[in-house]
Homo-oligomer: 153 residues x 4
Amino acid sequence: MAAAPFQPQDPHYERRVRSSFERQQAMKTIGAFLSEIEPGRVVIEMPFSQSLTQQHGFMHAGMIAAALDSACGYAASTLFPHDAGILTIEYKINLVAPGKGQLFRMEGVVIKPGRTITVVEGRAYAIDEGKEKLIATMTATEMTVTGRDDVKH
Amino acid sequence: MAAAPFQPQDPHYERRVRSSFERQQAMKTIGAFLSEIEPGRVVIEMPFSQSLTQQHGFMHAGMIAAALDSACGYAASTLFPHDAGILTIEYKINLVAPGKGQLFRMEGVVIKPGRTITVVEGRAYAIDEGKEKLIATMTATEMTVTGRDDVKH
Amino acid sequence: MAAAPFQPQDPHYERRVRSSFERQQAMKTIGAFLSEIEPGRVVIEMPFSQSLTQQHGFMHAGMIAAALDSACGYAASTLFPHDAGILTIEYKINLVAPGKGQLFRMEGVVIKPGRTITVVEGRAYAIDEGKEKLIATMTATEMTVTGRDDVKH
Amino acid sequence: MAAAPFQPQDPHYERRVRSSFERQQAMKTIGAFLSEIEPGRVVIEMPFSQSLTQQHGFMHAGMIAAALDSACGYAASTLFPHDAGILTIEYKINLVAPGKGQLFRMEGVVIKPGRTITVVEGRAYAIDEGKEKLIATMTATEMTVTGRDDVKH
């Protein structure tokens, strides 16, 4: 997916996203890292880990979903004002293939930005012996929140 | 939520669910454990952990979702034949409050069992200083799969 | 489903809901009518009509969904301030049985009210020769909107 | 959205889709018609009608959703074997703008075909004074069904 040519309101969106991501201990625990950040689009990658498997030894869908949810949230956040926080209202994920691979790539792309509500589409891919395969699709609804101390960046 | 009075096809459903859950390394990594199993209903619990937080120090929604997704899948699985595997086709989650608390309780309840497709409803609660609060709701669609070596229990 | 004991902010919520519903020409066209209104809960009914069928002669799922979506929206609306409008941000529906019957009952129940976001659960039932059967479940996310002329009641 | 280059299993997929659509009385009632059919992609159009409005005089989201759901289902159906029926298991729709316009275009595109489960993405557009605008996005899960008399084409 290519991001539409969005104009960020906050010129320091990348710094803001990186700083928020680094405070997410959960992303460290599952080995996820930011690999691409541009206005309206964020890619997170995560290597396979034995500690994150489901009962058949593949990557657990819940771990894929957690990283994909983050990619979607940060994709929305790139377009937010510098002082706005983000709330993920809901997301929906279709799991279309097992998490079989050595590396996983989660991409979030804004499809409809808005003052209050931003809709983001996500795709997760497994890279298995060099071949990339779609394993999940997501739609996420993100809300811009201002003036709340417990919801920032 | 109370489970409807479902009749399991496999008398050993509990053993089958426990054995599958124990093979999920991801559940160990996030500290989730099975707390209740009955026909059409499974509860998973997970204590707060600093290693699973989001950027404000609360429990990461992705970790809540992963455990809730597992509760929904296993709730469906209790009603499956002994030789059937399960595929989660999709789920949708609404996050209605932050993951603020010391313990989290994720409950999956079957609302429509079926030969091929089973629909499950999930609720996640945070227990914060003894007070339980709804933090997420889920709907999950599970598929019964037989005859595939890569999809079992 | 029983509605939680919600306290409406607008004592005239019922009049407001009825007045809005009556302006929905689409509801007239599909023969849907309001059958119950209480704080946080609305029921809409719709008789079978040959003009609303799918290819096998059953009630079209899209018509069921349209009425169920309305029931969910109005259930949220009962709890809104008198001057607030409503926007349905998204909904998700699982179709669990065909629309076979003479009458259809669509029920929306608020599960989490909020200042900005309200989450509602819906159930659709077919009444076929006196027997009621669950045919669809919905989760809908509704937003309270104030100060916009194009989004009222 | 461009459809991936899918190879249909049934060379007569277009005839099959048209014949099924024509039996949907609901589509006639809401004035929807098939405008494009190709492997893995179907477009349905629907003119504005006063009889299908919501409370502000715009096209009712439920009618948009019904036509979009049909576009998604038939997009999947183009790739099915000639004797297979289709069941829509679930769909999720995000409403991103009001249904303001003279003509509406609903497009369904398969993103993951499968033997049993096919995932389809939908987009609805309003054409308002010649300008096309995205008003809704959908993800639909469709199931291939064989050997059931009540679920055909």
